[in-house]
Amino acid sequence: MNPKFIQKIASVALGTAMLVTLSVLIFIIFYILYQGLPIVSMEFLTTPIRDMGKSGGIFPTIISTFYLAFLSICIAAPLGIGTAVFLTEYTRENTVTRVIRFTTDCLAGIPSIIFGLFGFVFFVIYLGFGWSILAGSLTLATMMLPTIIRTSEEAIRAVPEGFREVTYGLGGSKWQSVTEIVLPKAFPGILTGIILSMGRAVSETAALIFTAGMSLHTPVSVLSSGRSMAVHFYTIAREGISLQMAFGTAAVLIVTISIINISSYLLMHKYMRKYA
């Protein structure tokens, strides 16, 4: 066979793979939106859950989801970025950093139910937070850490060494080099990691059932229990309470995730243009 022919086959095969992937994705999204959107209304979004989810709205779950995502990011982002900065800028590559990195990679591969169990034993029982937004967020944060650390690390490493030397050459300190140049320049990459983990937090179920509980009420403090949209969806779908309500919740969930992704993409784009 001549190379030209092989080339043709390759591009057809690759193109097909791309099309299949894309159509499966689009199918899923459209199916859920098609099934769910008709029942999504202002009322659906703003009223409490009634009859265990058979009727009423999903307002409490939206609030819980927001709290969980926001709080877990607030906990995980500083810790994760701090760890990444420490690993890349403040230590030289040695056994300790390699162990930390290896452990982080292992953590990333652990199923979320295990994190849920840990969160239950440690945050819910041992620290006595009970089933609560706080326990759920802390658990989510531990799940997010590996992703945030690794993506931040990569983003920080991608910042050219020369930028650091400019700072040092002008008499700046390491801390100034990190805060003035390295982090701003790595920001888009770091943000990508945060968005990815936020997506994971918003769609997490197993770990949250154990830690944030399943309360049908709107959480009033970080110590209230609350179910996120994903947990709500999982429960009412699994227990056959209402498939239609489940699809409605799923549709809202998908739209939420899309909004997060699109807006962060736009933000990133604007930011990169400013910094390029």
Binding site: Y168, G169, L170, G171
Partner: protein, 252 residues
């Protein structure tokens, strides 16, 4: 006799077990341009990194001997590295404009040292751009991204940026290796201007450039200082055979 600005005594530098500078002794006078020539890997860049202690950041590097600036040993524990580096600017072969506007590139150094007044920063920016002969080319577009400047302009911007923190010594590590002849001659004439106020060390792989701009020239070979002297004398009547071989092109 001119005042000695930099004094290097029995300097040895190792990367791990590898010795890259071998017992170097030399002086640099105030307000002179000293060229350093020599084949690559001779330790020329390393010497510059020793003088502003950027070498502190290199894992496994070891420095022995003495380097004094204005009579003060810069390797004493009491020396503040950030102050030293403020005093000793460095320009690399590849210009590294920061990904921000021209003005912010120039304001960057002063801001690191706590100057925030915009009038003052603009003043510094203008003076330094004038000193590096870039002012006329960029005065109307200080808010443009520095990355959009040409290579030669970027190099002069980096020079201007180094000047913003009021150094006394400026180190150039092959500053023209990526530039076209016109940009090169602009940088060279800037260096001759700067000589009035600063002490300059210029590494160059272009012996003609060394001959054009410098007062004295040092020839390094595999970590050793082979010969140092008046540029004209060194190029016309080298004392060491190896120097002669190098300047007549018998080495790489």
């Amino acid at each position: 006799m001119l005042k000695v600005k930099i004094k290097v005594d029995n300097l040895n530098v190792y990367y791990g077990n590898k010795q890259v500078i071998k017992d170097v002794n030399m002086n640099v006078s105030d307000h002179e341009i000293l060229s350093i020539i020599g084949p690559s890997k001779s330790g020329k860049s390393t010497l510059l990194h020793v003088i502003n202690r950027l070498i502190d950041n290199v894992p496994g590097a070891k420095v022995t001997g003495q380097v004094c600036i204005d009579g003060k040993n810069i390797y004493l524990d009491s020396v503040n590295v950030n102050d030293l580096r403020k005093k000793v600017g460095i320009i690399f072969a590849t210009p590294v404009p920061l990904p921000m506007s021209i003005f912010n590139n120039l304001a960057y150094g002063p801001r690191l040292h706590g100057i925030t007044n915009r009038e003052k920063l603009l003043d510094i920016a203008e003076n330094c751009l004038r000193a590096s002969s870039l002012w006329d080319e960029v005065k109307s577009r200080l808010d443009m991204s520095a990355l959009r400047l040409s290579g030669g302009q970027q190099q002069r911007l980096c020079l201007a940026r180094a000047l913003t923190v009021e150094p006394e010594i400026i180190l150039f590590d092959e500053p023209c290796s990526g530039l076209d002849p016109i940009s090169t001659s602009k940088v060279e004439s800037t260096m001759r201007e700067l000589k009035k106020n600063y002490t300059l060390i210029l590494i160059t792989n272009n012996t003609k450039q060394a001959a054009r701009v410098s007062d004295r020239t040092a020839f390094f070979l595999f970590g050793e200082l082979i010969e140092i002297g008046e540029t004209k004398r060194l190029f016309t009547a080298p004392k060491d055979k190896r120097t002669k071989d190098y300047i007549t092109g018998k080495f790489g």
